[in-house]
């Protein structure tokens, strides 16, 4: 007998109901506000969702037409490539469809590309450009990516690949389903930017810098991952090219990445040897190319990428 519930109409019970009601309304309001803010104010959302929508429509070009190239990557490409300039320099040979989202890595793009292909995207060439660290990281971006790149099956697939526990999986799933949950770290960052002086510099400093695994392990992981990407692209009639953007002191890992790529039967493209770039080509964060470095990288890419696209598998490094 359910005898334990009191039927009293005490103020506590009244306010309890009010409080639960407020909680429900606030949750609803947060979702609506996050949705509104995202669509009105978020440059990242506007950019990536537009790029994604265009990428879904990309189709294989007919003979004689410029090749359709889907170019995906993270901030290294976003800051390092002047896409308009690259398109201008290579307009007769290729049509570029970029999707760049900061802080993305292998798993974001593995599942992002799977979904794009499922939705009908059929590029002739897929160019993936992320740094070695990002390529090796065992995570997906917790904001934007679950909402923009994944559907439910991708979320579950990524969670299984990453050995996420059930709590982390349910969080990722919720990030796919709820705009507020997906963007709450973006909201926090925006609030803190307005409150903490030099917050941007502080946040770029406190960002954890993942250590690379030892060389043999690195080679094995990289080869397996590149192979998976190649199989995915080939299954949908696309050629995969691995673009390795320069970062300071990354010569060794770039070389290992190129070797792993060759083992996996994928063309890798290193338009600029990182050893040839001095500090002056990088931003103060010592990671991304500045405008001068970007101009150099874009020109080099405009020279070598059409060659890669046109030709069969070749030794791709300019050095």
């Amino acid at each position: 007998m359910p005898s334990s519930i009191s039927s009293s109409k005490s103020p506590a019970l009244v306010y309890l109901r009010v409080l639960l009601g407020i909680c429900a309304i606030l949750v609803l309001l947060l979702e609506i506000c996050a949705n509104y803010l995202l669509k009105q104010d978020s440059e990242t959302y506007a950019r990536v969702s537009q790029q994604y929508a265009e990428a879904v429509k990309v189709r294989s070009s007919r003979s004689g037409e410029p090749a359709s190239v889907l170019m995906v990557g993270n901030s290294l490409l976003m800051e390092g490539i002047d896409v308009d300039r690259l398109q201008e320099l290579t307009s007769s040979k290729m049509r570029i469809y970029p999707i760049f989202l900061e802080a993305t890595g292998y798993y974001d793009w593995l599942y992002g590309l799977q979904r794009l292909f499922r939705q009908g995207a059929r590029p002739q060439v897929v160019v993936l450009g992320v740094g070695v660290n990002s390529f090796l990281q065992n995570s997906v971006r917790q904001d934007y990516a679950p909402m923009l790149f994944f559907d439910v099956r991708d979320v579950l697939g990524a969670a299984a690949d990453l050995n996420l526990d059930r709590t982390a999986t349910s969080n990722l799933l919720l990030a796919h389903l709820s705009v507020f949950w997906d963007t709450r770290s973006v909201i926090r960052t925006q609030v803190l930017r307005r409150m903490v002086p030099h917050c941007k510099e502080l946040f770029s400093l406190v960002k954890p810098k993942p250590a690379l695994p030892p060389a043999p392990e690195l080679a094995a992981i990289t080869t397996a991952r590149i192979r998976s990407l190649r199989q995915l692209c080939e299954a949908h009639g696309a050629k995969l090219i691995l673009l390795v953007p320069p970062t300071p002191s990354s010569e060794q890992s770039v070389r290992q990445m190129a070797i792993a790529s060759e083992k996996a039967g994928v063309d890798s493209l290193v338009p600029i040897d990182p050893a040839t770039l001095s500090e002056r080509f990088y931003q103060p964060d010592e990671l991304h190319l500045n405008s001068e470095g970007a101009a150099l990288f874009t020109s080099a890419l405009a020279t070598y990428l059409p060659v890669e696209i046109g030709g069969p598998k070749s030794a791709s490094s300019p050095d």
């Binding site: 005898s3 407020i22 947060l30 059930r166 770290s185 926090r188 803190l192 030099h198 400093l205 406190v206």
Partner: protein
Amino acid sequence: MLFDSPAYFLFLIPVVAVYWRLSHRAQNIFLLLASYFFYGWWDWRFLALMIASTTMDFLIAQRITPSRTDSNRKKWFIFSLVLNFGILGVFKYFDFFTGSFSSVLETLGIHHIPLPLIRVILPPGISFYTFQEVAYIVDVYKGRLEPAKSFLDYGLFISLFPHLIAGPIQRPGHLLPQVQKDRTFDADRFFDGLMLIFSGLVRKCVVADNCALLANAAFGGQFGPSNFWVVLIGTYAFAWQVYGDFSGYSDIARGSAQLLGFHFMVNFRQPYLSHRLQEFWRRWHISLSTWLRDYLYIPLGGSAGGEWKISRNLLVTMVLAGLWHGANWTFVVFGAIHGTVLAAERYFFPAKTKQKDAALPQHSAGVFSLWAQRILTFNVFCLSLAFFRATSLPAAVQFLAGLSNFAWRTEYASAFFMLCLFSIPLFVVDLLMEASNQEYPFATAPYSVRTALAAFTLIILALFSGNNLNAFVYFQF
């Protein structure tokens, strides 16, 4: 599932809704199943271990009660202790002791001795439920408690989900009778439970998770090589992280229990307002410190005997308390620092009158002197946290060695600002609670004020809680 994840609330809400519609016995069956589901959410294999250990202790307790004239009573008691600490030792400490022994042998020039390593994942909450089982066995053996007649009641006492993973460690004399008796819905207590959950979420998701960014960066080397400022940022940020994290967990646990009609003991009472380390341990993780006092320190001899014996007892208790936190020498040093300082405090500041355990000392010193002592105590605790947080002893020593270097970077100012942004509000809340002796801020304010406060809390949570899931620090213990 973690208390700060939506999955937990998707679990808690239907559990509470169904629970209050059931009769007492059905409530207990339902809660036991829900608690096993909660525990099995991590890994079903560890559930079998917990059920086996619970069953063994339930059966042994029937044999060791003083009312039985069983000649083997003592043997069963010792068997139970060996079993409980054996399971804990194997799962938590086996690799640590094997590894340490291997290092000693290598130091002595003996190499390549094949020592076995288990390399199992630590079952969640094993330290917490083992301590609860041991307390039950000891209390039954000493005749302080009647053994539970029903496995259902005992199983629920051990596995009740709000305390299962990271405490507070419940005393059998406090929780078991609550399990056995009828529970009635009390809207006031339900309301307070919700307020405790909101308070806990802010402590964890706003204070702890944001301070964790700074602490991780300082200890991880992102601020550059260690120096005075990095040590300050790292230890202070970690102090607020671990406090926000664990007191937040405790609040959510207590709040969740209150939604189900249970009362859990208070686990934190404004610890950073302590003026001595002795007082600190009466305010910090109270459920553990009182457990250690009653089941370790007092059986060792406690405060009886000469100063040397008392100091030894303190040191042994605190070193074991340190080791309870994790299988690493860093935790042993953490405990040793606390044991040494506690012994020194006893020597230099002998207690004038014996105080009751629950009562906090009355401060007779002047305001300036009191605050100076509070600041000193806080800094001693922060210093010990360098060992608690570092991954190894050399890493901790290297981190602290930076104290003599005062090189400044502009980002440090932003880090201090951010630290103040998240720690000062919690500090102010602690001052308010200290003055009012309440369980959460404004606990006796009118309902309308508290409802508004809850709404404000939700907005703060929405604005400042990060996305990256940081597991509760105490989950690993």
